[in-house]
C-alpha cells in the first residue's frame, strides 16, 4: 500500500496504513496494551478515545513525555516501547491513583468479574494501593432500570459519549472539575427525573460498577419459591443469541433450547416466548400501517404518516420526552413484552383457571428500559402489572450459575404451547430492521392478497445506522426507513418536524444494532463483532423456521378466533394498544 507507515514496536517491525494509532498497530502484533477509557465499536462507528485515563501510555523514542497509544498516530520510523521500566512504573502509578479514588468493595460489586478496572489491576499485578486520601463519594441513585453509583466512576466518559454523541439524550454529562469531576445528570438529579430513556447504553459501556442494572434476581428467587404463585416467563428474541456468551460460547451461538431447559429447571411453571407476542405485534401494527396507508391512498390528508414502530421502550421514552409534539406518529401498538403480559393475564390465565393475583409474569430481556416499561401505569390492572418485572440476559445467566445448573450439559428443549410458538418473522425482531421486515412480510400479503415468494428484505438488514428501502406493493412504492441508535432517530424526527420526511413507515430501535446490542446483554467490552454475530444467529434461526410470516402462526390465528376477534378490534385495542404522554420538561412562568 502506498500510504504505509513502517515503525517498530517492542523491536518488531510493522507496516500500517496512515492514520493507524500505536494501540491499533500494537494489537495487530498481538501486543496487549491495557486500556480503560478507550473503546472502539468499529462496525458501529462508535468510538471513545479521549486519551484521558493514561493507562495505555508507551515510550516513543525522541519524545519528552510518554504518549497515550490510543490517540497517538503511527509515524514512519517511529520506535515504540510498550514495556520499559518507565512505562510499567507510570502505568502502575496511574492505575494506583485511580484505585485510590475508587471504593474497595470489589467482592460485593455487581461488576466483579466483569470489571475492566479489576482486570487491569490483575494484569498489572497491583497488590497494594500506596496512596491514601480523600475518595469521591456520591449517593446511589436507584431508578426502575439503572443503578447509578457515581462513587465508582473512573471518569472514562464512555457513558457521556454514548448518552450524548450516539443517543443524543443528554441525560449524563461531565460535571465539576478537578478531583470532583464526575459524570452525572444535571444537578445530580435522579435519572428518573432527567432526560434518561433507560436505553441502558451507558450501562453497556461502563467499564466499572458505576452504572449497572437494577437487579430483580432476588425478587425472582423469592417468587419461584412461593408455592401459591404461578410464575411464568417470556424470553425476548435477542436473549437466545447472546446468553451463550456468558457460558464461554462464541458470540452468535444460538442457545434457544438450552435456555428453555434452564428456565424450566429454575422452576418456571411455563416457559413461553416473547416471539409469540412479536407475531401478535405484527398483526396489530401491520394492520394499523395498512389502515393509515389506505386512508392516505384514498386521499385522506389528515392521516398521520409515517407510522413509526413502538416496540422499543427506550425509543418510546425518547419521543415522549423529546418530541411530545409528534405523539400521534408512532403506532399505538404495545411492545411485544406488554402484549404478552396482557394476553397471559387474560386469555391464558382464564384458559388455565389461574387468578390474576396468583400469576406472576416475568420477562427475560436484552434491555433495561423494559424494566421501566413494565412499571408504567398504563400496563397495570388495579395496580397489578401485566408483566410483573423484567430481568436482563445478564441476570438470567447469573441466576443459572448461582443455581448450579450446568448450562453446557443441558438438553435442547422446546417452549411451552400456546404462547411459545412463533414464526421466523418474530425471531428477527431482535436485530435492527427485523420489525420492519416482519411487518413487510405480513402487510404485503394482506394488502395484495398475493403470496410473497422471497421473504428476505435484505435492504433493511445490516449494521448501518440508517437503512432505506422502497418496496413495490402492487404498484405502490412504499418507502421505509430503519434507524438504530436514538441519535439517528432524532435526525428522522427532525426531518418529520421540518416536513421533509419522505417515508411511509419507520422502524426505530434505541440500541446500536437493535435489541442484540441492548443494555441488558452480556458486555461486549468494545467488541462490535459480537453484535454482528448475534444478528447473524437470529437470521439463521429465521431461515430455519417452518413459518416465516407472523400471520401464519397457527396459535396467533386461533388467538384471534377464540379471543380477540380481529386485529384492531375493541378488545385488541383495550389489551394490545396504548397511548403516549408528553413527558417533556415544562417551564412554568409565574
Amino acid at each position: 500500500m502506498e500510504n504505509n507507515i513502517t515503525l517498530k514496536i517492542d523491536n518488531r517491525e510493522i507496516s500500517v496504513p496512515k492514520g493507524t494509532t500505536i494501540l491499533e498497530a500494537a494489537r495487530e502484533l498481538g501486543i496487549d496494551i491495557p486500556t480503560l477509557c478507550y473503546m472502539n465499536l468499529k462496525d458501529l462507528c462508535i468510538k471513545n478515545a479521549p486519551a484521558s485515563c493514561r493507562i495505555c501510555v508507551v515510550e516513543v523514542e525522541g519524545r519528552k513525555n510518554l504518549a497515550p497509544s490510543c490517540a497517538t498516530r503511527c509515524e514512519n520510523n517511529m520506535v515504540v516501547r510498550t514495556n520499559t521500566m518507565r512505562v510499567l512504573n507510570a502505568r502502575r502509578v496511574v492505575l494506583e491513583l485511580m484505585l485510590s479514588d475508587h471504593p474497595s468493595d470489589c467482592l460485593v460489586c455487581a461488576k466483579s468479574g466483569n470489571c475492566e478496572l479489576q482486570d487491569t489491576a490483575i494484569k498489572l499485578g497491583i497488590r497494594e494501593i500506596p496512596f491514601a486520601g480523600e475518595k469521591s463519594e456520591f449517593k446511589v441513585d436507584l431508578s426502575p432500570s439503572i443503578r447509578r453509583d457515581a462513587s465508582k466512576c473512573i471518569y472514562c466518559r464512555r457513558c457521556e459519549m454514548m448518552c450524548n454523541d450516539v443517543q443524543t439524550v443528554g441525560a449524563l454529562g461531565a460535571v465539576n472539575r478537578g478531583f470532583s469531576s464526575v459524570v452525572m445528570p444535571a444537578f445530580d438529579e435522579a435519572l428518573i427525573d432527567s432526560e434518561c430513556t433507560f436505553c441502558g447504553q451507558c450501562v453497556a459501556v461502563c467499564p466499572v460498577g458505576a452504572l449497572t442494572e437494577l437487579s430483580h434476581t432476588n425478587r425472582l428467587i423469592n417468587d419461584l419459591a412461593n408455592p401459591s404463585k404461578t410464575v411464568i416467563v417470556q424470553t425476548a428474541p435477542a436473549v437466545r443469541a447472546a446468553l451463550g456468551e456468558e457460558f464461554g460460547l462464541p458470540a452468535g451461538t444460538s442457545v434457544t433450547g438450552k435456555m428453555v431447559a434452564a428456565l424450566r429447571q429454575l422452576g418456571f411453571a411455563k416457559v413461553f416466548d416473547t416471539d409469540f407476542a412479536a407475531d401478535l405485534t405484527i398483526m396489530e401494527e401491520g394492520t394499523e400501517l395498512l389502515g393509515r396507508l389506505n386512508a392516505f391512498l384514498n386521499g385522506d390528508k389528515e392521516v398521520k404518516l409515517p407510522i413509526i414502530t413502538s416496540c422499543c421502550p427506550g425509543w418510546v421514552n425518547f419521543f415522549e420526552k423529546q418530541f411530545p409534539d409528534l405523539l400521534d406518529r408512532p403506532s399505538s401498538a404495545r411492545s411485544p413484552q406488554q402484549m404478552f403480559g396482557a394476553i397471559a393475564k387474560t386469555y391464558w390465565a382464564e384458559k388455565m383457571g389461574i387468578k390474576r393475583e396468583d400469576l406472576i409474569v416475568v420477562s427475560v430481556m436484552p434491555c433495561l428500559a423494559k424494566k421501566f416499561e413494565s412499571e408504567r401505569d398504563e400496563f397495570k390492572t388495579n395496580g397489578d402489572p401485566d408483566v410483573n418485572y423484567s430481568i436482563s440476559t445478564r441476570e438470567l445467566a447469573a441466576l443459572i450459575k448461582e443455581t448450579n445448573i450446568n448450562f453446557m450439559q443441558l438438553p435442547d428443549e422446546d417452549f411451552d404451547a400456546p404462547l411459545g410458538e412463533s414464526t421466523g418473522a418474530a425471531v428477527i425482531f431482535g436485530a435492527s430492521g427485523g420489525v420492519m421486515e416482519a411487518a413487510l412480510r405480513t402487510a404485503y400479503e394482506i394488502q395484495t392478497g398475493k403470496t410473497l415468494e422471497n421473504v428476505d428484505f435484505e435492504g433493511v438488514r445490516g449494521i448501518e445506522n440508517l437503512k432505506e428501502a422502497t418496496i413495490d406493493v402492487d404498484g405502490f412504492e412504499l418507502k421505509v426507513a430503519v434507524a438504530h441508535s436514538l441519535g439517528t432517530a432524532r435526525k428522522l424526527m427532525n426531518e418529520l418536524r421540518a416536513g421533509t420526511c419522505k417515508y411511509h413507515a419507520i422502524e426505530v430501535m434505541a440500541c446500536p444494532g437493535g435489541c442484540i446490542g441492548g443494555g441488558g446483554q452480556p458486555f461486549h467490552h468494545g467488541d462490535s463483532a459480537r453484535i454482528k454475530a448475534r444478528a447473524k444467529a437470529l437470521y439463521t434461526e429465521d431461515a430455519e423456521k417452518s413459518f416465516r410470516k407472523s400471520h401464519e402462526n397457527p396459535y396467533i390465528v386461533s388467538l384471534y378466533e377464540e379471543f380477540l376477534g380481529k386485529p384492531m378490534s375493541e378488545r385488541a385495542h383495550h389489551l394490545l394498544h396504548t397511548c403516549y404522554f408528553n413527558r417533556g420538561k415544562e417551564i412554568i412562568e409565574q
Binding site: 479521549p50 486519551a51 484521558s52 485515563c53 493514561r54 493507562i55 501510555v57 513525555n65 510518554l66 497515550p68 490517540a71 497517538t72 498516530r73 518507565r86 512504573n89 507510570a90 502509578v93 496511574v94 491513583l97 485511580m98 485510590s100 479514588d101 500506596p130 496512596f131 491514601a132 486520601g133 480523600e134 473512573i154 471518569y155 461531565a174 465539576n176 472539575r177 478537578g178 478531583f179 470532583s180 469531576s181
Partner: protein, 596 residues
C-alpha cells in the same frame, strides 16, 4: 489644541485601588480653578510598573515622577509644580541607599536596568485615545506589513527576530504563524490569549489596560500573515478595566478604518471580537481555550491536530498571548535584526515579570533576556523587604519552581530557567525570605493546581490531589521518609503522563523544593519542626515572662481569648484555646511573644 504640560496619572488596577481616579478628579478640579485646563492636560495612563510606590503621577515634559500620591496632594502639585515650577519634594522617590530624592524615573534603580518593548507605551499614553497611540508610531507596523510586505515576508521577519511565545511554553512565534499560514480554509482565526491565570502575574492585563492598540495592531498583522480575517480576544471576565479599554480601542480602530474592510485601502479585512473566560486556569492551554470559546467545558484535547490545522470551529487558528503580540509592532518597525540582538542566544528580546513578594519594589518590570536574577532582585527590586535574608524566588507560577541563592547569577532565559528546574511561564516572580516555609509554598501551588485541574486525565485529577495531601501531611508533622519517595516518584509520573501542559508541569514546585530545600523537608518529617515558623501545626506560641510587661495588648487582640494574665504581670497563652493566628505576636511591642 496643544498642551504645555501633561500630568500622567497611573490608571492601572493597582493604583486605581489606591484612589488614583480621585487624584485625577482633584487635579482637574484644581486646574479648572486656576483656569489652566487648556494648558495642562491630565491623562489616565496604563501601569507604570512601580506598583510598590503607587499611585504614581508623572509630569511631562520635565519627567518628574511622584510616588504614593494621595488625592489631597493634587492641589499642592498644581500650585507648586504646575504654577510655580517647584517640585513637590516630599512626593519624590527617595533613593533608599543615598537617602536623597530622585525626580526622574530614569535614574531610579527600579527603572535603570529595564528595557521596555512590550510595555513601551504603558504609562506614556492615554490608552483610551487612539491618537496618542498613533502619535507613537502606532499602526505604522500594520501599514508597513499590508502595503509593503507579502504575508510570507512578515512571517520571515518574525521568524528572524527569534521571538518566542511569552505565555509559557516559549514556542517560536514565527514558526507558529507559518504553520497556520500553510493550511487552507474558508475561514481562519487569530486568537489572543488574554486569560491570564498565573496567580502572581498581571502583565497581560497591564498591557491591555495601558496599551490595548498594540495588541489589536499585532492581531491584524498576524491575520494578514496567516490569511485570517477574524480575531478573537479570549479575556478573563475578572478584568473589567482591560475589557473596557479593549472595547474602546476596537471601536476607535474601526472608526479610523484600522479594523474592518479594506484596511489602508487594500483588500485586507480584519475584525476583532471579545470572548470571555470564566475562571479556569487550564484555559491557558490553547486547545482548552478553543473549547471554551466554543461554549464547552475548557478541557484540553490531544495534539495533533494542532490548532494551526484544526482549532476554533475546526478551522486553522493561531493562538498567541498578549505579551507576545505586544512585541510584534516593535519588531516590524525596528526590524528583526534590532530585536534579535537583544537577549541571549536562544531567547531574544525582553521579558516582562511581575515582581512581588518579600521585595522592596513590587511591580511590573521588563528586562532584556539574559538579565540575572540578582540584578532583578537587588537592583530593580531593591532587595529584600525589612532586611530579611533572601531565601528563594519562584518563577513560572504553578508550573515553575523555586530557585535559590545558587541560581542568582544565572542569566534569565527560557532554557536556563528550565535547566535550573523552573520555567519562564508567564512571568510571575515571587521573592521569598527566611520566614517562608518551602513545604508550605509547594503546598500552596499544589492547592492551586488541584483547584484548577480540569479533571480530564487521571494523573492530574487524582495525582495532584494526592501530592497535595502528602504535602499537607508533612506540614502537619505527620510525614514519613516514604512520603518523600512517593512525592518524587508520583511527581515524575505525573509529568510523564499528564495530558496537557498544566498537568505536565504541576509537580515542578514539589520537585524543585525537594531538590533545593531537602533539609527543610527533613526538618518537618524527622524533627517535626518548621524552620520558617509557618506551619501552624508545628508551632507553639509562647510568651516570655522575662519580656512581658503585662500591658494586656495581646490579650485584647486575641480573637479567641486564649491569653490570660493580671495587669502588669506576665501573661500566658492557653495552648488548648490558641488558634495560632499570630495576632498577639504581631501586636506585642516588646517581642515577648515567640514561636517554638
Amino acid at each position: 489644541m496643544s498642551y504645555k504640560m501633561h500630568v500622567l496619572v497611573c490608571g492601572g488596577t493597582g493604583c486605581r485601588a489606591s484612589a488614583s481616579q480621585q487624584i485625577i478628579t482633584r487635579l482637574e478640579e484644581s486646574l479648572r480653578e486656576k483656569n489652566l485646563e487648556d494648558e495642562v492636560q491630565v491623562i489616565a495612563t496604563g501601569c507604570f510598573g512601580f506598583c510598590e510606590k503607587g499611585p504614581i503621577v508623572k509630569i511631562m515634559p520635565d519627567n518628574t515622577f511622584y510616588v504614593q500620591v494621595k488625592p489631597e496632594d493634587a492641589e499642592e502639585i498644581v500650585n507648586e509644580h504646575v504654577i510655580k515650577g517647584r517640585k513637590v519634594e516630599r512626593l519624590l522617590y527617595k533613593d533608599p541607599e543615598k537617602k536623597e530624592a530622585v525626580s526622574d524615573s530614569k535614574h531610579m534603580g527600579f527603572y535603570k536596568k529595564q528595557l521596555r518593548i512590550a510595555l513601551r507605551n504603558c504609562g506614556f499614553i492615554n490608552p483610551e485615545n487612539i491618537e496618542e497611540y498613533i502619535a507613537r508610531d502606532g499602526y505604522s507596523a500594520l501599514a508597513k506589513c499590508i502595503t509593503e510586505l507579502k504575508p510570507e515576508e512578515v512571517i520571515q521577519e518574525i521568524k528572524l527576530s527569534g521571538l518566542r511565545g511569552r505565555g509559557g511554553g516559549g514556542f517560536p512565534t514565527g514558526l507558529k504563524w507559518e504553520f497556520a499560514s500553510k493550511y487552507q480554509a474558508d475561514q481562519k482565526y487569530v486568537v489572543c490569549n488574554a486569560d491570564e491565570g498565573d496567580p502572581g502575574a498581571f502583565m497581560d492585563r497591564s498591557i491591555m489596560e495601558g496599551d490595548p492598540h498594540s495588541v489589536i495592531e499585532a492581531m491584524a498583522i498576524c491575520g494578514y500573515s496567516i490569511g485570517a480575517t477574524k480575531g478573537l480576544v479570549y479575556i478573563r471576565a475578572e478584568y473589567p478595566l482591560a475589557i473596557q479599554r479593549l472595547k474602546i480601542a476596537i471601536q476607535q480602530a474601526k472608526e479610523y478604518g484600522l479594523l474592518g474592510q479594506n484596511i489602508f485601502g487594500t483588500d485586507f479585512t480584519f475584525d476583532i471580537e471579545l470572548r470571555y473566560g470564566a475562571g479556569a486556569f487550564v484555559c491557558g492551554e490553547e486547545t482548552a481555550l478553543i473549547h471554551s470559546m466554543e461554549g464547552h467545558r475548557g478541557e484540553p484535547t490531544m495534539k495533533p491536530p494542532f490548532p494551526a490545522e484544526s482549532g476554533y470551529l475546526n478551522r486553522p487558528t493561531n493562538v498567541n498571548n498578549v505579551e507576545t503580540l505586544a512585541n510584534i509592532p516593535a519588531i516590524i518597525m525596528k526590524g528583526a535584526n534590532w530585536f534579535n540582538k537583544i537577549g541571549t542566544e536562544r531567547s531574544k528580546g525582553t521579558k516582562v515579570f511581575a515582581l512581588a513578594g518579600k521585595i522592596n519594589n513590587v511591580g511590573l518590570i521588563e528586562v532584556p533576556m539574559g538579565t540575572t536574577l540578582r540584578e532583578v532582585i537587588y537592583e530593580i527590586g531593591g532587595g529584600i523587604k525589612n532586611d530579611k535574608k533572601f531565601k528563594a524566588v519562584q518563577t513560572g507560577g504553578p508550573s515553575g519552581g523555586c530557585l535559590t541563592e545558587k541560581h542568582l547569577d544565572v542569566p534569565i532565559d527560557f532554557d536556563n530557567l528550565l535547566a535550573s528546574g523552573s520555567m519562564m511561564g508567564s512571568g510571575g516572580m515571587i521573592v521569598m525570605d527566611e520566614d517562608d516555609c518551602m513545604v508550605s509554598v509547594a503546598k500552596f501551588y499544589l492547592e492551586f493546581t488541584v483547584e484548577e485541574s480540569c479533571g480530564k486525565c487521571t494523573p492530574c485529577r487524582v495525582g495532584n490531589k494526592r501530592l497535595h495531601e502528602i504535602l499537607d501531611k508533612i506540614t502537619q508533622g505527620k510525614g514519613t521518609m516514604e512520603d518523600l519517595d512517593t512525592l518524587r516518584n508520583l511527581s515524575r509520573v505525573i509529568k510523564d503522563t499528564a495530558l496537557c501542559g498544566l498537568g505536565q508541569t504541576s509537580p515542578n514546585p514539589v520537585l524543585s523544593t525537594i531538590d533545593n530545600f531537602y533539609d527543610e523537608y527533613l526538618a518537618h518529617i524527622k524533627d517535626k519542626k518548621c524552620p520558617a515558623g509557618k506551619c501552624k501545626a508545628l508551632l507553639m506560641y509562647h510568651i516570655d515572662p522575662e519580656l512581658c510587661i503585662g500591658c494586656g495588648l495581646c490579650a485584647r487582640n486575641c480573637p479567641v481569648d486564649a491569653i490570660v494574665g493580671e495587669r502588669k504581670e506576665p501573661h500566658f497563652i492557653n495552648t488548648a484555646k490558641c488558634i495560632k493566628c499570630g495576632a498577639c505576636m504581631e501586636k506585642c511591642k516588646f517581642k515577648a511573644v515567640s514561636t517554638r
